[in-house]
């Protein structure tokens, strides 16, 4: 992407995010879109967003694609990986060469699984709220080119947008919104994994296919993923109204 095209695309993304924040928005879906934009703008292979839970452990909140393989790789970082280091120190860790054992010695399991998935370089960018770190943006590349300072600055800008999205005040009822928002986002994420399983079993498809169908249905009707997921699990929603994916 040329510098000018990229700048224009970035402006579009900020407008898209600003638009999304106006109403009672779907934080999981927005973060998924942001992850996908990171991949597009930074020319990386995959991106994931992790948030710290009440125990200070990182949990996945969204990824550029919902393939379980990527989700599981991100999930490994509840106890090890570059995002854990980034979260603890508050500093970005960039251009980490996954093929060099001495670089990845602190988190061998993560590095091995990342390499197996085909990634050779990874980056971890902090999600910062004032002087507090609330999570990390994780980028992966299958191609061994380095990200330059401009790319990293752009990644940090996108991470900042993600932080704003997560902590955006949803209702004025809550006086301690920030912490609750983090909690809600983490709960929503688990709910979505549960509904993937429910739908995959009903439709006899993979969880990845089930999620794709679920999300297109929710998006087309402007339903929040977590709301629709909760309704389905409670049995308050007839899932036959969602077009089932074709069994592959």
């Amino acid at each position: 992407m040329s510098a000018m095209a990229r700048e224009r695309r970035l402006a579009e993304i900020f407008v898209e995010v600003a638009d999304s924040l106006v109403e009672d928005f779907d934080v999981i879906d927005l973060l998924h879109r942001l992850s996908a934009r990171c991949v597009e703008l930074l020319d990386v292979s995959a991106a994931g967003i992790l948030l710290a839970d009440a125990h200070g452990e990182l949990q996945i909140i969204a990824a550029s694609d919902e393939h379980t393989r990527l989700l599981e790789l991100l999930a490994l970082q509840h106890d090890q990986g570059p995002c854990v280091e980034c979260y603890r120190t508050g500093a970005a860790r960039t251009n980490i060469d996954l093929t060099r054992g001495e670089v990845t010695a602190a988190w061998p399991r993560f590095a091995a699984q990342a390499r197996e998935t085909g990634y050779v370089i990874t980056h971890a960018i902090p999600l910062r709220l004032r002087n507090r770190v609330v999570g990390a943006l994780n980028l992966f590349q299958t191609a061994p080119h380095r990200l330059g300072d401009d790319d990293i600055a752009l990644a940090q800008a996108l991470a900042d947008v993600a932080t704003i999205a997560v902590l955006q005040q949803r209702t004025l009822e809550q006086s301690h919104v920030e912490n609750s928002q983090l909690q809600n986002a983490l709960t929503s994420r688990i709910l979505i994994e549960q509904v993937k399983g429910v739908l995959a079993e009903r439709w006899n498809t993979s969880v990845d296919e089930a999620f794709a169908a679920f999300r297109s249905y929710a998006r087309a009707r402007h339903l929040r993923l977590s709301d629709l997921a909760a309704q389905i699990i409670e049995g308050d929603f007839d899932t036959r109204t969602i077009p089932a994916p074709h069994v592959s």
């Binding site: 009440a54 125990h55 379980t68 009822e173 006086s175 609750s180 709910l191 549960q194 399983g197 995959a200």
Partner: protein, 243 residues
């Protein structure tokens, strides 16, 4: 907070609610669990008496942080009840004021769609909740979720013994576990909560990590059927043999 978690484990200090009140530096703490098919909130323990009365009040009226937490699964933080719009809890607010309750926060016990109960914390004179108190209450709610998902404490008010560590059950950070839970709930036609129990029971019974069993379920190498089976989790493995 570590001390409270330890006291929950050992059943020491008699009253877990009292320990929580001290650790959270709150005016009162109450824990209610959702029981039965209609998920009625049943108080399990409270301290002091004021907490017990408030707990009864909010669940009788169906108004307040507790019922809202049960409905939404999200924390509700109102450390200063004077700042709550009167129409939000029209009957509860004046009654709470009469009791001398100044502020209340409710924290959900649960995992995703699984709702186990609610922890209600009464705030003190200063009508605020600090970041530390929030973090402690959230951690406590998570630890208690773990305890009750292990099937403890729902029969009576006794705290779990030392063999049952309160705390987050291991393996629940993996997406595949929640995906498998959803699949099993459909396979067995049971609630998502029971599905997780069955999954964990199977992992425990077969002495394999929860994540591994979940991977088998999602990859359809393992299916939970309801055929007559001595095994409590009753899974059926298409490759023959069990799990």
């Amino acid at each position: 907070m570590a001390e409270v978690l330890r006291s929950l484990r050992l059943g020491e200090g008699g009253d877990p609610a009292q320990a929580c009140v001290r650790a959270l530096d709150a005016a009162g703490v109450a824990l209610s669990l959702l029981v039965g098919a209609d998920r009625t909130a049943e108080p399990l323990w409270c301290h002091p008496e004021l907490s017990a009365r408030f707990e009864e009040l909010q669940f009788t009226l169906g108004e307040g942080p507790g019922p809202e937490v049960v409905r939404t699964g999200s924390p509700v933080l109102e450390p200063d009840l004077d700042r709550v719009r009167p129409e939000r809890w029209p009957v509860l607010l004046p009654a709470a004021r009469d009791l001398g309750v100044r502020g209340v926060c409710g924290f959900p016990l649960g995992i995703g769609a699984i709702r186990v109960g609610v922890l209600t914390v009464l705030c003190g004179e200063d009508r605020r909740i600090s970041e530390q108190q929030f973090a402690d209450a959230t951690a406590l709610a998570a630890a208690l979720t773990g305890v009750f998902l292990n099937g403890n404490g729902h029969v009576n008010g006794t705290v779990p013994g030392p063999d049952r560590m309160p705390g987050w059950p291991t393996g629940l950070n993996r997406p595949v576990v929640h995906q498998a839970t959803g699949m099993i709930s459909v396979q067995l036609g049971v609630s998502i909560q029971e599905a997780l129990l069955r999954l964990r029971a199977h992992a425990y019974g077969s002495e394999r990590p929860l994540g591994e069993i979940a991977e088998d379920v999602v990859a359809r190498r393992l299916r939970f059927g309801d055929e007559l089976d001595d095994d409590i989790s009753g899974p059926y493995s298409p490759e023959g043999g069990k799990g």
